[in-house]
């Protein structure tokens, strides 16, 4: 029995970090807007954090589409994305199981594939939030350079959505970071996103259906692309 199972191929890992790092920096630089001492820090007439945010935001918005096309030319990334966004009956059962357990009732855990329903819900919400943030962000970015392109009331409405979505995304990111880096039960998953492999024992506890498939594939000597 292998000690480790291959979990994420390079294309999936590149996809993850390509989104995660800019979004995290955008969140941090954006949040400075709620901190009066930081938001007005300026070099000449340029508010430092706002500039960083807008430059990174526009760069991210422009680079994202071609990068996604390149990454999704890889089978592994496509399969992981599909698996992450696909809803199965077991996902409902998993959520029900967690709710019953949270209420102190007994319930039998359904089998879990590569991603559990919690990860899927998180992924769907975060993806939606990020798409809307980029869309609204581009309008705000254009307005940042030229105040005469859009009507102020339109800008105000867009700004409001940008704020609302970033505040909805924030707890998702915090929860995600906690699960990936701190929570002893789940933080093994971070290894999957860095080195590409996870401990088999952990995978069998948290993603039993997937672990079975992965074990089978590794016996056949297939890489993570094959499953």
């Amino acid at each position: 029995m292998p000690e480790f199972l291959d979990r994420f191929a390079p294309s999936t890992r590149v996809l993850h970090w390509l989104v995660a790092i800019p979004v995290l920096i955008l969140m941090l630089t954006g949040l400075t807007n709620f901190w009066p001492e930081a938001k007005t820090l300026h070099l000449g007439g340029a508010r430092i954090f706002a500039w960083l945010h807008v430059l990174l935001g526009l760069g991210f918005a422009v680079a994202l589409l071609p990068s996604l096309l390149a990454i999704f030319s890889r089978r592994a990334a496509r399969r992981d994305a599909r698996e992450l966004l696909l809803v199965r009956l077991d996902d409902y059962l998993w959520l029900q199981h967690r709710a019953l357990r949270a209420a102190g009732l007994r319930s039998i855990a359904p089998r879990v594939g590569k991603f559990n329903a919690g990860q899927k819900v998180n992924a769907a919400l975060a993806t939606t939030a990020i798409i809307v943030l980029i869309g609204t962000g581009v309008v705000l970015g254009v307005n940042f350079w030229n105040k005469n392109v859009f009507d102020v009331d339109l800008v105000a409405a867009v700004f409001r959505w940008h704020t609302v979505l970033s505040l909805l995304l924030l707890p998702l990111i915090v929860g995600h970071l906690y699960m990936a880096a701190l929570n002893p039960e789940t933080r093994e998953s971070l290894r999957g996103m860095t080195s590409g492999r996870v401990r088999r024992a952990w995978a069998e506890r948290h993603h039993d259906a997937w672990a079975e498939r992965a074990r089978e594939a590794s016996r056949r000597g297939a890489g993570p692309d094959r499953r």
Binding site: N33, F34, P36, K39, T40, H42, G44, G45, A50, H97, R101, A103, G104, L105, R106, S107, I108, A109, V112, L140, N143, K147, N148, F150, D151, V152, D153, V155, A156, V158, F159, R160, T163, V164, L167, N183, E185, T186, R205, H206
Partner: protein, 219 residues
């Protein structure tokens, strides 16, 4: 996050309570709900309320005993008003949207205060007076308008916001309100109105921002 349905620690063997909500859980939910309620009003404040922008070293303190609003420069009858005299000048109430250059807006702000135009009539600008500079108490921030802009009907020296005296954060005791331009044209903690023959560049205009910060609005 193990999914084995194992008995909770300390209860193994003992028959488990099947009540959906134990008292502790109920109290916990209640406390959680209250915390969430408190948090959500904070969050709504972040989304829809005022934001604070200042370049002063801390927020200037308004001392009612020593405060003066000085109106001077190229005028026939310079004035120095204490807080009560400012409040006893003929006042107007005005409702206008406030737009920050950053993109946020506070709709339907109710201001009470003195029209710039009334103040100008009191002091009598000299023929050379073409611009006005508005100075903050902290001594760092100031901004300016042309006399023509300042005389537009919506321009106020405001001391009440939504029916209450301005708070320290919002610029107590008075601020300039120019609804047709972005907020940076309206200094808070206003202490001096200076009539000039040439335009004095404001804090941000010295750093490249637009002098005439007209708002592009269809409304």
């Amino acid at each position: 996050m193990s999914d084995e349905p194992r008995p909770p620690p300390g209860e193994s063997g003992a028959p488990r309570s099947r009540r959906l909500l134990s008292r502790a859980r109920f109290l916990g939910l209640l406390a959680g709900g209250a915390a969430l309620g408190a948090l959500s009003t904070r969050v709504f404040g972040l989304v829809d309320g005022w934001r604070e922008n200042t370049v002063e070293d801390g927020r200037p303190v308004f001392d009612r005993a020593t405060y003066r609003l000085t109106v001077d420069g190229l005028v026939a009858r310079p004035l120095s008003l204490d807080y009560d005299s400012l409040r006893s000048l003929p006042a107007v109430r005005q409702v206008s949207d406030f737009h920050c250059v950053e993109g946020w807006r506070v709709p339907n702000v109710r201001w009470d205060g003195v029209r710039f135009q009334s103040l100008a009539e009191l002091v009598g600008p000299l023929p050379d007076a073409r611009y006005v500079t508005f100075h903050s108490l902290g001594g760092v921030y100031r901004d300016s308008l042309s006399l023509t802009q300042a005389r537009l009907p919506g321009v106020l020296i405001a001391y009440d916001l939504d029916g209450a005296p301005l708070s320290r954060v919002r610029g107590a005791p008075a601020r300039l309100v120019m609804p047709r331009m972005f907020g940076y044209k309206g200094p808070k903690w206003l202490t001096r109105v200076e009539f000039r023959d040439r335009q004095d560049l404001g804090y941000w205009e010295q750093r490249g921002w637009r002098v005439d910060a007209w708002i592009r609005s269809s409304g």
